[in-house]
């Protein structure tokens, strides 16, 4: 099985540069704005798009993504609408990989079989589900693989040599290396460490390794891009949404533009990294 994720990383490898992986929360601050942002991301420089499926209790996320999830939920976003967002996006973009990211409960309640089928049909290519370690692969990872979706796993600084092979088993698409100990968007990544960590993971796998958690600037992105196959940016994008809302918490004319400008800047950083 080859997904859009595999195809995209292979193509970028040929070009000798890293992928920019961007995260937005589905329905933040409302369905139409997030669709408009989504549609603009590839042109702004996003190579892979992660769409957050909002959840009331995002345990691994910092204040930025917590707030964006609650904004989306308050405006009526739900799992069905998130899949609809993917379908709408696919009408005009057949190439950019889409990864759905979130927590297990909304998927479990949707129904695992129905979800993997509907997600694939909508045009999603992979899943990242934070609270499903490899010990629970039977819950979603195996059904997702069977449905033709990549299951992308997080490796963290606490994942030691002994555990790494277990984390990499059944992982496909790419490996998401969490560069800091902690929740999303709070600490700055340790840039010196990244090259060594990526190398350590690559000793165990041929999959591309993307690095994220705490990447906010083009400069950081550039440094990471020189040492990894992908750079993930999330909280900074979500904060660009927050910073352009009006007093009622609604999107303004600036919202989409602010996000796409930021992504454009970071994309320049990624592309400026030394060819590998």
């Amino acid at each position: 099985m080859t997904t859009r994720i595999d195809t995209r990383f292979a193509a970028l490898k040929k070009q000798g540069r890293a992928a920019l992986v961007t995260f937005i929360t589905a329905g933040d601050p409302d369905f139409d704005t997030s669709l408009a942002i989504l549609q603009g991301l590839p042109k702004a420089g996003a190579d892979v798009i992660e769409i957050g499926m909002p959840f009331t209790d995002p345990m691994a996320d910092g204040p930025a993504i917590q707030a964006s999830s609650l904004r989306a939920l308050a405006n009526g976003q739900n799992m069905k609408k998130t899949l609809k967002l993917v379908r709408e996006f696919r009408k005009t973009d057949k190439e950019t990989p889409i990864v759905l990211m979130g927590y297990f409960n909304p998927i479990y309640i949707y129904g695992v079989e129905a979800f993997v089928t509907d997600a694939k049909k909508a045009g999603a290519d992979g899943l990242i589900v934070v609270d499903l370690p490899p010990e629970h692969d039977d819950e979603l990872c195996l059904p997702a693989m069977k449905a033709g979706l990549n299951f992308i796993r997080l490796a963290t600084p606490t994942t030691d040599e002994a555990r790494l092979p277990r984390v990499l088993t059944n992982t496909s698409g790419f490996v998401y290396y969490v560069s800091v100990l902690g929740i999303t968007g709070t600490k700055a990544p340790n840039l010196k460490d990244v090259a060594a960590k990526v190398k350590r993971i690559k000793a165990h796998t041929t999959l591309p390794v993307a690095v994220g958690f705490g990447v906010k600037t083009a400069e950081q992105a550039k440094t990471i891009a020189a040492n990894a196959d992908g750079v993930v940016v999330g909280s900074a994008i979500v904060n660009a949404v927050r910073d352009t809302l009006n007093k009622k918490g609604e999107a303004t004319a600036k919202t989409k533009k602010a996000v796409l400008t930021l992504v454009g800047d970071i994309a320049k950083g990624v592309r400026a990294a030394a060819a590998r």
């Binding site: 959840f55 209790d57 345990m59 917590q66 297990f104 909304p106 606490t158 929740i183």
Partner: protein
């Protein structure tokens, strides 16, 4: 009784941490190595007689165990039926059953060389117990507490501060116990090296539900021995209140294989089950995944967790320990509920008849005792778990009774 009843109800969980459908380890990868390390450390401690003897010594001399099994004579007379005994865990140091578990976990943390302790708290009882044990052993202590709970449990907040703990408000979501748990988990993810997470109830990723149950089982073991000594036989029924379910599990677990003992757990029905404003996860929820385990949860059709409501901050949680969920599925324990109003009435009755000011949590168990006891014969022996004292709740009660303090 369920026709598929197992040979024993006391052998769970399995090696992956499951009790039937429930339990497990639904945590982020960052925490997984820590949870595995904790499990190993707990297995080692459990097998070490020196650990148990140290714990027993602290339970006796510091906590004040065993707690009495008290015959509530006037309440029994008033209700005119079953003979009611109270397991007096409100007499423990810090005023609730929470310290039983905390002593065990803090001794384990010391064994593991952890210097920084974090905990979540709802009513503040687990927070006070944790702050107490940390003060006793000179450990750094950070307590996460929902902003709403901080407002309604001021005396406990001040107690924790006096004991040297830092109380950090959880400002996200419903700003109650579930959010305090989220914040504690987020802290743990960010401070994995030196931090021990002392969970206050029989929930969370495996091995917490099992470990907390084991530490709280001292309640049921004592009650069993005390009842045999007093009455020469086992009780006919047990009644305990359930938020996460640690006091109930502690009382119930040693009796699970005594098939003639009827066991009843009481959830908080808040303003009433039909109102939608309640905390009855089994009666009003369905199985889902939150805080590291699968269990009955309050949620909407999209799998979004909904807010729990109860007059009692300690029961104000949208989930329940996974072993309770399993015992419900198996039909071994009957889960019922009591409303705020019923709990308040039981609270007042207990004050007047027994000279005991109960916490609002066990007042829910008392409310069920009031419904059940009058219909039972006088030789029916009933044990209710008086798991906490009510000093912390007098402001809440005054407000509900329209009294200005």
């Amino acid at each position: 009784m369920n026709v598929n009843a197992p040979n024993s109800y006391r052998t769970g969980p399995d090696e992956r941490g499951f009790y039937g459908l429930h339990g497990g380890r639904f945590v982020a990868e960052t925490l997984m190595p820590l949870v595995l390390e904790l499990e190993q450390a707990y297995r080692d401690a459990k097998a070490d007689p020196a650990f148990q003897s140290e714990l027993d010594s602290f339970l006796e001399h510091y906590v004040g165990r065993p707690s009495p099994l008290y015959f509530a004579e006037r309440l029994t007379e008033h209700l005119g039926g079953a003979k009611i005994y109270m397991k007096r865990d409100e007499l423990n140091h810090t005023g609730a059953h929470k310290i039983n578990n905390v002593m065990g976990q803090i001794l384990l943390a010391r064994r593991m060389g952890k210097k920084r302790i974090i905990a979540e708290t709802g009513a503040g009882q687990h927070g006070v117990a944790t702050a107490t044990a940390c003060a006793r052993f000179g450990l750094e202590c950070i307590i996460y507490m929902g902003e709403v709970d901080i407002a309604r449990q001021q005396p406990n907040v001040f107690r924790m501060k006096l004991l040297g703990a830092q109380v950090v408000p959880a400002l996200s979501g419903s700003r109650t116990l579930k959010d305090a748990l989220n914040e504690a988990l987020r802290d743990w993810v960010a401070n994995v090296e030196d931090t021990f997470y002392c969970i206050g109830t029989v929930a969370g990723p495996h091995p917490y539900p099992e470990m907390v149950r084991d530490f709280q089982s001292v309640i049921g073991k004592e009650a069993k021995a005390q009842m045999l000594k007093r009455e020469g036989r086992l009780p006919d029924s047990l009644v305990a209140a359930i938020g996460g379910g640690s006091n109930a599990m502690g009382l119930f677990h040693p009796f699970l294989d005594d098939k003639d003992v009827k066991i009843i757990g009481v959830e908080a029905a808040g303003s009433g089950l039909k109102s939608g404003r309640h905390a009855a996860s089994i009666t009003g929820g369905k199985p889902g995944v939150l805080h590291g385990n699968r269990t009955y949860l309050l949620m909407d059709d999209d799998g979004q967790i909904t807010e729990a409501h109860s007059i009692s901050a300690g029961l104000d949680y949208p989930g329940i320990g996974p072993e309770h969920s399993w015992l419900h599925d198996m039909g071994r324990v009957e889960y019922v509920s009591a409303t705020d109003k019923e709990a308040l009435a039981a609270f007042q009755l207990c004050c007047k008849l027994e000279g005991i000011i109960p916490a609002l949590e066990p007042s829910h168990a008392l409310a069920e005792v009031m419904k059940r006891a009058p219909k039972l014969p006088k030789d029916h022996l009933m044990v209710m778990n008086m798991c906490g004292r009510g000093d912390k709740d007098i402001f809440t009660v005054a407000e509900h009774l329209g009294v200005k303090l």
